[in-house]
Symmetry: none
DNA sequence: TATGAATGAGCGTTCATTCAT
DNA sequence: CATGAATGAACGCTCATTCAT
């Protein structure tokens, strides 16, 4: 009998304790972890197939084969699903990038950026439509600290590595290269390309050009070129 | 009955029964043309400021200073507004690109791509948030034939120009360069960059690298580089 | 196609411009005014019959014979319905009380409080279940300024009148008398009493006792009695 | 098969076979009694702090430190919690009132009503918000027989005592005095008053006035006053 | 033509209640 | 007995679209 009243209080009277965007329930049990997985996979598939417009909590629950109530036991809201998806993607990427930056042969700029490109492609070229939806949504999403931190780590990992090789304005360069790679990978995915090696080679040409490396890989007159800008 | 069908067509999962997306009324009268203009400008402003989430037909009508009923006299639905915006953007771009391709000095590849980049930047860097929303929406929008045709014309204009300068796989290259430019411009806009000259220079480096031109502008061993792939 | 996104923005991204609790649309047209009336009457009836638990916006719309969407064109939310009902009640009461306070014969304390009691009874004894629901809800309702102001005016009208007759601690007395009257009227209504004259007489006895008046109406040793407290 | 039947019986459209509102399990064991206590105290605290709107079974279980499943082992539903709280309150009150009525000095009407007022205040002024929620809820709650009986006993205890002192229409008087006291105490609580002695004195004035007693306590011309009605 | 009140499907979300473990 | 994951009806509310004026 108190249903209606409850709604009143939720909208206005009670202190809203900073609605958390992250997962609501720590998946301590194997069962729970599996459910979280199923929910996120359903979310990903819907975003891939129909974009943000088709992404409704009810549909997610349906495709995940659970009730809408269960979905809300694991995630506090619709946004949390996207944030979780985003965080996962970022975690993967940060791991790959940091590994690339710390690899023994990372001393060679050419080798380093090849590794970076490969990492970015792995991140972006799989499920490009999903990536595009998450990217668009991100603009309007209040991210939790952890996810923000991952973003910063991604940027700084690349920037630091570039700076270590004498690239000027490394932060901007990192941003540009990420944007360039993302743009090309996204479009390639959209056009149904599957030959990742070809795409990688094309991106490499652009990246090397941007950095002033000659195509074969040796840094060529980097400093003087830059000074002309 | 008509009403029921209309509602069905709104559904995201059902086949859309041939709903026309183009403007409902050819703006033959000056008054009409002006109204269309006002509506589209209001649409653009809303998309820029609030993204797809804020883009509602009622708000468009309000900001345009007309009634919602009038809006529906000029456009058959919400999507038509975005399609119209998209078509305009494309018309602008196609004009600039074709002018660039036909310019007297277009014989020089370096000059040509500089012109292309400038055109693309003009297209993308103005109102980057609007561009991003339209691009995202486009993926899920059923475009009318004319808008599709413009897209094809943009691609082929660039591709033909590149092919004329001996660039292999010109269609793919055109796509790549557009994607690369779009990605970088979009990100730069997002980060609030305003120095278009700097951005243009950075894009040029990437583009020239992609095409195998040396930074100063001369095509350098393009063919042999390509043959190594 | 943007439905889902719209919801995102509404919950978090956009600036919430101080959601107004008052009526959304000024009922300028007779039609609109009539609709507002119908909605409020439906609201009142539901609160009377089923209390806060039964008071749902969908039911209000149904009983009012309008669509749920129309309801939200006139009121920005569920709470606004209750606030509007409350404000009306208060407006009635404040009018009656101020008339009583300014009446020619208000110089006589006995006459004055009789008028106050009659006003309060008129306010409370009609639809006691509605009054009870509104009173309970009020505890948790964010009132608009106007409604708050009415409340203050009610209290101060009575307090000032009592003070003018030498009643000490007039603010507390006003509160007590209002509470006493409300309590008795509410209970009488709940028990289905219909003889308002009898109820009025009983309340008068309590009120006069509280104020130290003898039953016939003359203030009897008011000051000395008070000084003993 | 058994399962199927269970599900059918859960349906809201079928006749509900005698759903009991009282506690499901007689707390014969100390452990059970303690759990019931904890649950009710948690319920009371929630009603006090957040009113009916915040009163959810899940929250009660959480605050009580038990599982929601356990709660349903002790109480058949949400309403049962409120009914139990109400019954307790009433049991306390009935005890105090009956003691007052049977006290040696109860022969004096003034002394008697002073005791009644004190009992009522104890009942109402402690946790006034809890009392208000229970009173509001009671209107729409299907009470069990025992709780109804307590209500009747409260009314008749007071009514009989008043009748014994020659008060006419004692049942109505009992109701009125209870309502008057409740109203004043509730409002005082709402306004944060803490001086119970002052409140008691004010209520006494009203009650004595109602009963036609002079302020000092002696019944004054009660019968003649009444006969004038 | 222009208006804007009206519509209602459908969204995000809650919470009383059940039942397998 | 206790647990708590799961359920899903029902709620408050939005917004694309229609149509009487």
């Amino acid at each position: 009998m108190v249903r209606a009243i409850a709604h009143i209080s939720n909208s206005h009277f009670m202190v809203r304790l900073q609605k958390p965007i992250e997962a609501r329930k720590a998946p301590r049990q194997a069962r729970s972890a599996a459910t979280v997985e199923i929910i996120l996979e359903a979310s990903a598939r819907i975003l891939e197939a129909g974009g943000l417009a088709a992404f409704t909590t009810n549909l997610v629950a349906e495709k995940a084969g659970i009730s809408i109530g269960s979905l809300y036991q694991y995630f506090p809201g619709k946004e949390a699903l996207m944030v979780a998806l985003l965080r996962r993607k970022r975690q993967e990427l940060v791991t790959m990038l940091e590994e690339a930056a710390e690899a023994p042969r990372a001393g060679d700029l050419g080798t380093l950026i090849d590794a970076f490109i490969r990492a970015a492609l792995h991140h972006q070229f799989q499920r490009p439509r999903l990536a595009a939806s998450l990217e668009y949504a991100e603009r309007h999403l209040p991210l939790d600290e952890e996810t923000e931190a991952l973003k910063a780590r991604i940027a700084s990992t690349v920037a630091r590595a570039l700076a270590a090789h004498g690239i000027p304005d490394a932060a901007t360069a990192a941003r540009d290269l990420a944007a360039l790679t993302r743009g090309m990978a996204d479009t390639a995915g959209l056009f149904g390309e599957t030959d990742m090696a070809s795409l990688e080679a094309r991106i490499r040409r652009a990246v090397r050009g941007y950095l002033g490396l000659n195509p074969s890989g040796a840094a060529d007159d980097q400093r003087s070129e830059k000074s002309k800008r």
